[in-house]
Symmetry: C4
């Protein structure tokens, strides 16, 4: 069996989504990549999360050819692959329809950075994609979904902004590993909820100052980080 | 005992409602039909969900005559029967008072199709019925509730729109089986919540384009569906 | 030990409040009355719900004299007693700070009857009390809280409207038994939530017609009720 | 091992935060102080709550020198220490990013005392700090966070107002013990939720009268308290 260890990581990332209440039934999916082998492991399409085992995950290459697995991969596989091809620094991708993040995506509003909880994980406003054209929807829809995300990140570092809202659809998140991608999906939902309640209390709420945003982001990320324990 | 297998399916559909938090106490009910025998199995009236067993479900014919069961059927039985008579393609019906769907029903607002989560299961706005007249309320209220739903679907395919909001009351859902009807009730609640949060973020939010709506609905339903696993 | 059976009923009503998420820590309280003996059983003050046993509940008479129990009774006992004295048809009283019902009480807004879920249990708008005067607050505050409720019900049947919102405070509910009082507290919270979401969707939402309200209330209550199972 | 009993109290306070849903992953932290020894015990930085044991908590003195522990203390330790130094009456401090309290902090709005639930625990509006200056953010950010809180309490008794909202950040709470600090964090979240729903129902909602606020606060706190059981 190919990439056994990655299968287990991807399974665990999928299970995190259901444990945290981000998905119901067959909503959403998580994947991971082995960069050395060029292999992606992803949830099979339409299979409930509680029926997942390492063996029924699907292995594909970066062109979407299924190399191992009896089941069809998630129909969103081409979106994941577009992200893996464009963002070499990422190791996992997660898609959900979690409530607050999806509401912001449906309202086509970016999530402003209204507090330090947001700045701890997302360096600035979480962006929204442009809508897809009718042509992009008709053919290769899922690949185009990935490409519209990639275009939105032309000038951004995906590890400083590990999430996006696809307009009218919902969030995609990523990270250095499948586990980190799933955590970012959980954190995005939390941040989306906080921002929802904040703008309800003050429709004119403004983002926190750049100094505070940077302080929080960089005390957790990068060379000068001092949050957490040193790597062992 | 009649229709033992159907009893188990209907029991399971009722239990799904309580597991997913859509009902409390004795709110709501699920039923199923055996089209060959013309028999409907439904929850007994006023019995808590955790006391349900296959044996205390009630079996009736399409005219509402109870054929088996010591308990009274759900008082909403005539509503279910009106739906079974009018919609030959459906095999299960579910009624709940789930929070967000009921709020839309109480506000007498259809749920617009604001995102792909909605379009995955409901092909367009989830409609609201006309209010019942005082005469329709006085006599045969529950049958008239069914008929006001059926009138609303004069030009609609109930399998493309497996839910309705009864004005001032709450949702009724259906599907090819009791299980599918219960799932549609869960999915409607999720979609109703997403739409609630979306219009709070943008009161002027508009439905997604028809191309995106159709893409999502038909990648899951109909001859060209490619979501999920092929039937085995 | 006095009124052992009533102690168990009151314990169970208190536990229902914590099971349903209506109370945390030492919030809220439930009581019951034995009308023949003139004895009231109530939760002790400031004791967490998970430490309650039949033995540590407190027994008092209708004048508030503690007849059995090592612990102080709930500080709200005089409110409960005022209700028992004024409403001879009730057998249980419950007070909570449940979220949505309390929000309506804090906003000093009655909960309008916006749907059939409400009409199934509460015959019309759930009323709000007048505010207490400074004098009523200074001395015998808890008894005055009961009296301001009783004044609000001068022309109402407490079994047709088994709940009230004390302005700036929260809900009190009652019923024919402690169990029914606790269920009414749960149902009030559900109805308060539905109404909250409804007015968010439509600030101008109006109550359902009287015909629909009466249909739902009286199909569950009174001589012509046909919901549920016949008494055995 | 130093202050073993305090370690257990602090562990328990941290666990209360996760049990009550106030924190996810590594959000938030609780600490406690032994005033006689001048020792503070605090959660280690970036460690998930379910991996906490008394042994991996960190012991520091009031100047922030770590005296025992292999792990780095919470990065918020200097904030906790500033509070312990300024408020001699407190024995525990808790920080969370709980949803409703954080939303008020992000909206930079104090939480008005809109009901008796609030007045039971917080004597008046829960205040918001001034924003930190860019200089305060750049260097010794966490200590400055504590100092901006302390400045806000120049004329307040921290035991009458055991919580504050740090603007753009979230709540800090305290109490006579770590347990009480954690309870105040739970109660603040509840009060923040009630106030959120109340201002949604009535944007012009006003605080309850001072007489009612004082009645509720002082029936639970101070020499004339009569809520709960007498100390044993």
């Amino acid at each position: 069996m190919l990439v056994r260890h990655l299968r287990e990581e991807v399974l665990e990332a999928n299970l995190e989504l259901i444990r945290r209440g981000l998905v119901i039934y067959t909503f959403g999916n998580a994947s991971g990549i082995d960069r050395d082998l060029g292999l992606v492991v992803i949830k099979p399409s339409g299979v409930p999360f509680d029926e997942l085992v390492p063996e029924n995950l699907v292995v594909a290459d970066l062109q979407g050819r299924v190399l191992e697995g009896d089941l069809r991969p998630s129909s969103d596989l081409p979106t994941h692959l577009a992200l893996y091809r464009a963002f070499p620094s990422i190791g996992g991708v997660v898609h959900t329809h979690s409530r607050y993040a999806t509401a912001w995506a449906q309202a086509c509003r970016e999530i402003p950075c209204l507090g330090t909880t947001h700045a701890d994980y997302f360096h600035g406003a979480v962006p929204v994609t442009e809508p897809l054209t009718a042509e992009e929807i008709e053919a290769d829809y899922e690949r185009h979904t990935g490409e519209v995300i990639v275009r939105r990140f032309a000038n951004a570092d995906p590890l400083e902004m590990p999430a996006v809202l696809v307009a009218g659809h919902g969030p995609f998140c990523w990270g250095k590993s499948p586990r980190e991608a799933a955590e970012h999906a959980v954190l995005l939902e939390e941040v989306a909820a906080l921002a929802y309640f904040t703008v309800a209390l003050d429709p004119a709420a403004v983002p926190i100052p750049a100094a505070l945003r940077d302080k929080h982001f960089y005390r957790k990320h990068g060379a000068a980080a001092y949050y957490g324990q040193p790597p062992r």
